[in-house]
């Protein structure tokens, strides 16, 4: 059972990285951050269904 725990001869390939000045960010993290910003922007811009004045009392 112990053999599954330990490192194989070949290490996992490293993730891709983006460098911008002194900033180094992995592509995976960059995508995550950009998607979050996009979702935030969409959340504040897209109309929310059900906000009709007739419902209000």
């Amino acid at each position: 059972m112990s053999s599954e725990f330990f490192a194989a001869a070949e290490p996992t390939p490293a993730g891709a990285v983006v460098q911008w000045g002194f900033i180094t960010v992995t592509v995976a993290n960059l995508v995550t951050i950009l998607v979050m910003i996009l979702v935030f922007v969409l959340a504040v811009l897209l109309p929310f269904p059900g906000s009709h004045e007739e419902d209000e009392q």
Partner: protein, 322 residues
């Protein structure tokens, strides 16, 4: 219809707001919203798990270390005996061999004292070797080591360490002749122990049976360069913003961006006390973050940023009066 408004100066505070219960309402099913959210998150989670799985780079065993970087093991064992490795010069909480970091005149590191005693030369090298039987060469080397004075031991170990540094690839077989005492045998004996797969157990559970505290094998492994070489190959090094990263192509912890940011810039990037300095700074910023509602200027900043106008597109008045 004209109306007289209550002058702003009579408002109670900069963060005053009307009672939310005075506004028009509409029907909204909170429980249904939660159940829908749960369903969406569950689907996203399961799909992501099926498509991307999760990273699991296996641990580097000490045997693995011995096989992939044997010269590093020998050099590290020598450094433990010479008292020059990170562990051997660390200070609290492991030993008193160093002062650790300080924030000005205050050393938080020294305050609790030694709570996890580690004596690298004995714990990592000598004591595990003593468990060997039927190894007369190692036994003789241990007798020679025991009989020598601390200064003699350090002289041998330092000399061998320097010689390894000069040898091509740090290869013990190519070391120049010199006066190294029993150190070469002890260092290469440690390599053999690691190679056998027995060393983690000797460091973790030799006297306790149940070993759940991996401090000693981890400190030993981290004293070498192999662990860091593997980490840097995965962009996990400190100056690679590694605190944010994960092995392979997986997203890591992007929310730690500000914590690792400070390590990349002066003066922290070259400071011996960078860790405690960054900690202190982050604690201050965290307190500031918690206290935003009470910080003048910051607590009213959103009004001037104007993003709220996208969220609340209408002018709202409680009671519905225009």
């Amino acid at each position: 219809m004209t109306a007289v408004r209550v002058p702003r100066s009579e408002r109670r505070s900069a963060t005053w707001a009307p009672d939310s219960h005075e506004f028009p309402t509409r029907r909204y099913d909170l429980v249904k919203e939660f159940v829908v959210a749960l369903g969406v998150i569950l689907v996203l989670t399961v799909v992501a798990a099926l498509v991307f799985s999760s990273p699991d780079d296996p641990a580097i065993s000490l045997q693995q270390w011995a096989r992939q970087a044997p010269n590093d093991v020998v050099a590290t064992a020598t450094g433990e005996l010479a008292g020059t490795t990170t562990s051997a010069t660390y200070g609290p909480p492991y030993n008193t061999a160093g002062d650790g970091q300080a924030l000005g005149p205050v050393s938080l590191q020294k305050l609790p004292g030694v709570t996890q005693p580690v004596d690298p030369a004995n714990d990592f090298v000598i004591t595990p070797l003593r468990t060997l039987s039927g190894q007369p060469v190692v036994a003789a080397a241990l007798r020679q080591w025991d009989a020598a004075s601390p200064d003699q031991r350090m002289a041998w170990a330092q000399a061998y360490s320097d010689a390894l540094g000069k040898a091509p690839d740090g290869d013990p077989a190519k070391v120049e002749r010199g006066s190294y005492g029993p150190v070469p045998i002890l260092a290469i004996g440690t390599l053999a122990l690691a190679n056998s797969g027995a060393l983690e157990g000797l460091l973790t559970s030799r006297t306790s049976f149940f070993g759940v505290n991996s401090t000693k094998p981890l400190l030993l492994l981290a004293d070498g360069s192999h662990l860091e070489d593997q980490a840097r190959a995965q962009n996990l090094g400190g100056d690679q913003w590694g605190i944010m990263n994960e092995t392979g192509n997986y997203p890591g912890q992007p929310w730690l961006w500000l914590y690792t940011f400070w390590y990349q810039i002066s003066p922290f990037s070259t400071s011996d006390n960078a860790d405690v300095q960054v900690w202190a700074l982050m604690i201050l910023l965290s307190i500031g973050f918690i206290c935003v509602p009470w910080i003048p200027g910051l607590r009213t900043l959103p009004k001037y940023l104007g993003v709220h106008r996208l969220i609340w597109k209408k002018r709202w008045r409680a009671g519905g009066r225009p």
